[in-house]
Symmetry: C2
């Protein structure tokens, strides 16, 4: 399992993904699920992946091969003229993997399953985030719901629902995203640290704030502890049920 989230703000985008993959609970590994491409001053494109690791690695490999000058592919992540075009390129890569592996995977219980969050900024476009499905089609986050989640999204959603606002600062939104991870990590063993965290600042057209948050990270430990106490304290202040 995986947990990945992107939160689109007026001032940029916060991306986060865990790094645990598993084939059964007795076969756990660490893999990167946050990938990015950039050309400073022109574009930053970030991809979070969830689902079958074989599929998502193949998608990333295809996207990278397209960037090689010798690939002969006309449209790639570096030539895409908008984030919408970039999402179509990723969707096409998913469909290519399905052509190769789909039939074999569909015979298994888990099927052909992968999902992606693609986000970033190209040139003068505002930052945008998309969710791309196993079928290669996609949706874009709009103002009503400024965040997208992939993988094990349920445990971490209540806090996002109540607190996420597009007016937040990057550091504030990163705190929120880490709290959403904290709830998820407590409940689903197949989501595991470290967490890859990327704070994209609007119009910077570069990646300047990228961190990998480990189990023993001081900020994360403090965040998790303070939040648990704050919740208990808030709980204590509310009137009991008398019925």
């Amino acid at each position: 399992m995986t947990y990945g989230v992107a939160l689109r703000l007026d001032c940029g985008i916060v991306f986060a993904a865990d790094t645990r993959t598993n084939a059964g609970v007795d076969n756990i590994s660490q893999f990167r699920k946050l990938h990015y491409w950039r050309r400073p001053g022109d574009r930053v494109i970030v991809l979070l992946t969830a689902g079958n690791l074989g599929i998502s690695q193949s998608v990333v490999s295809i996207l990278n091969e397209q960037l090689a000058e010798t690939s002969g592919v006309e449209h790639n992540l570096m030539t895409a003229t908008s984030m919408y075009r970039a999402a179509r390129i990723v969707g096409d890569a998913v469909r290519e993997v399905r052509r190769v592996d789909g039939e074999a995977l569909e015979t298994t219980r888990s099927g052909f399953f992968a999902s992606f969050i693609l986000g970033g900024q190209i040139g003068s476009e505002p930052p945008r985030i998309f969710q791309i499905y196993s079928e290669g089609n996609f949706i874009e986050a709009a103002d009503d719901t400024p965040f997208l989640q992939i993988g094990e999204h349920k445990y971490g959603k209540p806090i996002l629902d109540r607190v996420a606002q597009s007016g937040m600062r990057l550091g504030e939104a990163a705190k929120l995203v880490l709290l959403s991870f904290d709830s998820t990590l407590r409940s689903n063993l197949s989501v595991g640290m470290p967490i890859d965290l990327l704070l994209y600042e609007r119009d910077s057209l570069d990646v300047r704030r990228y961190s990998r948050i480990y189990q023993d990270d001081e900020y994360f430990k403090k965040l998790s502890g303070s939040w648990a106490s704050a919740l208990r304290e808030a709980f204590g202040k509310i009137e009991e049920f008398k019925g």
Copy 2:
């Protein structure tokens, strides 16, 4: 979908279940999923149901038919000598329904699926809670995890994980359970109000606090509002991410 939860305390048990059932989003009805049987001074037995409504209603019908003097059934919920025996009676009823409907349901995409929480107190035994599966087998909640959940359990679990303690008062635990519902109702449309809530006081061997909480319930509205503000306030107090 359904959400049902039982929280076992030193001073009793809190049970809650929503009342929405649906066959697709365009076919929604209200059905009771919290059932109880009692003989004051002797026993209180509460059953929460989730999953296929046909299965869970059949299980309840079988349990009720067993209670008719003419049924000729030796063991029923009123003669069971312990909650463990009562759980076996419910498990047997699930297996009986499977014998009748299992084959036909297994050919469908949703399969033969139902789950149950059974709890209560019989005579001088302490109050106990069990989770009973589609296969008719079951587990009992122990001190490490004093609550059990069925149905759409993920959204409402983080708050239970952080706050639930067996030393809570009944009214305090009911507040917690309603907050867990609040998170779930916001995220899953197929879980719907009203909520049936039963607060069983240890050794009372009777049902004295049973309420149905409707959408416009003043306490629930206040709870939901206060909790959202308390969460945002607690969030604001924690240091931002600086990395």
